[in-house]
Point group: C2
Chain length 392, copies 2
């Protein structure tokens, strides 16, 4: 008998993946331009020009044995040093190279971290809505994901959080800007989460999953968890900021203020080994060092967001307040998000029902698409609104 958990994980496609496949078939039937696919969080903005230049320069002017060779398991020292310095200059931390562990992207950052922390039966608290793979990652690491249901504000429900904290709690995951809501947790929220954690017991870890850190609108400031809590770990990826999702490059930053820092970093190293992460891709380690502070042209996402906000409000839709990432979380006009997403399909609009994200009354719209597609989609959204008799 094979490992049944993994057979099932491989067979049951995620809702997002299912919709993506549906979209491919539908596009073949009626033409790419007639399907309005808002299902996938795959950046549509190219990597910045500096990426191309730096890659070509590295490939043409570096000894290939050095360029493509193994790095140490935690990554190149110089790359880790540059990341620590960047974080220190942005967030007034005192990190050094040995606080950073280079990873194959955000998912790897999370699986390595969870496997470092968890013993069988440990609980990990997450606030809905949340990225569905958290559950998969947590359970593989032997843990149990405890979800705190969402309210209308999409800020964590702190009363419920307080009740969920127990001596079984090993970690809390926060994800801000949030996938799928686009909401950013305020400094007040972060302070309250930290206060409740500290009141419960003193060895809970806070994991901040922040691949959308740079995708923030209206000058909203994202509190950096290490400035509020010692036993904290930041999971980062360059997938969104540099538009490199397929290249699998990111990092884990471990707060060197944590009382058990040495053991914690060792556990990260050990977990990486056990999962088969030998080192993060070497060329892209060098690349990100050359591209600190650079991002893809994120203004396109802002323009998309503003246009959708304006028109969808006009059509009568309601949604979470989207201050970051590239998602709008639309309230289902008929309560159930799956029925809403099904009806949207009739207008060739692909939205992901929020059920798997822990919010069954909302659907996710990924606006990391071309502005042209948004313009083409607007009449369809208007008809969808009219089908519900939403007020203009």
């Amino acid at each position: 008998m094979l490992n049944e958990t993994n057979v099932n994980l491989g067979k049951v496609r995620s809702t997002i993946r299912e919709l993506f496949e549906y979209g491919k078939i539908r596009k073949a039937e009626i033409g790419d331009n007639n399907v309005f696919d808002f299902s996938i969080g795959n950046p549509s903005v190219p990597a910045p020009e500096e990426v191309k230049k730096a890659l070509v320069d590295l490939i043409e002017n570096t000894d290939p044995v050095a360029l493509h060779g193994y790095t140490s398991a935690q990554g190149y020292f110089s790359v880790r040093k540059s990341i620590a310095e960047e974080l220190n200059s942005k967030f007034s931390t005192s990190l050094n190279a040995d606080c950073i562990y280079m990873t194959c992207g955000a998912s790897a950052s999370l699986t390595v971290t969870l496997n470092a922390l968890l013993n069988k039966g440990d609980e990990v608290i997450v606030f809905a809505p949340f990225f569905p793979e958290y559950k998969v990652f947590c359970e593989h690491a032997g843990g149990k994901l405890v979800t705190i249901g969402c309210d209308n504000s999409f800020q964590p429900d702190l009363a419920k959080f307080k009740k969920a904290l127990s001596n079984k709690t090993k970690a809390v995951i926060i994800n801000s800007p949030n996938n799928p809501s686009g909401v950013i947790y305020s400094e007040q929220t972060i302070k309250q989460i930290v206060k409740l954690v500290e009141e419960c017991k003193n060895d809970i870890y806070i994991i901040s999953d922040e691949p959308y850190r740079e995708l923030v609108f209206n000058g909203v400031k994202i509190p950096f968890i290490m400035n509020y809590y010692k036993r904290s770990i930041v999971c980062y990826s360059y997938s969104k900021s540099l538009s490199l999702p397929g290249e699998r490059i990111g990092y884990i930053a471990v707060n060197n203020q944590a009382e058990d820092f040495a053991d914690l970093y060792a556990a990260i190293l050990g977990a990486g080994r056990a999962l088969g992460f030998v080192c993060a891709p070497a060329l892209f380690q060098q690349l990100v060092k050359r591209c600190h502070g650079k991002t893809a042209d994120l203004s396109i996402y802002r323009a998309n967001r503003d246009r959708l906000l304006e028109k969808l409000t006009e059509y009568g839709f309601e949604f979470a307040k989207p201050d970051g990432a590239f998602y709008l979380f639309l309230k289902s006009p008929e309560g159930d998000a799956r029925a809403f997403a099904e009806r949207a399909k009739k207008y060739e609009i692909l939205l992901v029902a929020g059920n798997d994200f822990g919010c069954g009354e909302y659907a996710r719209l990924s606006y990391c698409v071309s502005p042209q597609m948004i313009e083409r989609a607007l009449p369809a959204f208007e008809k969808l609104a009219q089908s519900y008799n939403l007020s203009k």
Copy 2:
């Protein structure tokens, strides 16, 4: 409490890593040219020129959104198709794209495969000498590694193997050309392994870990496991053949003759998801498609091997018959390999004692080094031999 297993894995360096760090310090003390570091399996031969050309061409002439975007979890269809076709043409198999799962290198191929197969308590049989991380990977996946001790021939001891097979056995790992012995398993050996497995029960998987497939000397033919056994899985990496160890690119090929192929491939997909492997690095997926049939200049390894064989034999050393990979497995003249490796250090020669590989009477010499270093090292080997009064 953190996950103690992973804390320990992170704290206790592997013997190879320990020696590598010693080498760095020693080189700083007495100069790079005076330390003869045969400890690491990091290719010294550059990637073939085609790699550079193809990378620059891909980067300069592909839309960056497509080039660096997410691929499907199992990898680009076109890349998988080309790999299936390459294997079919080499080994007369009938694989297709959906038998291939692209991975972040050989370690990832193994961890994904083991997590796909194993339930808690399942046993995996491996023949010593073997790559020490097999134990780490197997135990993380919930399994128990059962090792069959080595004899002087370094071919599997089939009598011991027969005794070790039981209804707890879930898989057998073979690794030929072998790390650390350089030995290749004969067709006769493979046939006997298969026969014994089939006699035991019919649902044991044979995993062939073959990153050294192309590193073969004297025209010795390596039997391809899929031609002998249906329930088989090949774990491959381009690290050695294309000299790209840091770029983390490889694949799993699942035999579509396996009775439970659909479930098996699904389990691979699911295990990849659970471990946090979203997709293999996209640029290097495209790269390997362009480089099928190409290898780094492996003739340098052959020349190194021939030179070492000639001189070390002359000095009186004994070793396993090295038909492939880039390792010589030297017999300790004093029985214990750790003592031998310690004495070699006095002559500034760094060898890895075979204890962690399951053979405590041999030490591994990695000859993926420059021919110049070998020439410089020969007088030191001669003195080492003289210190044991080995006959010339």
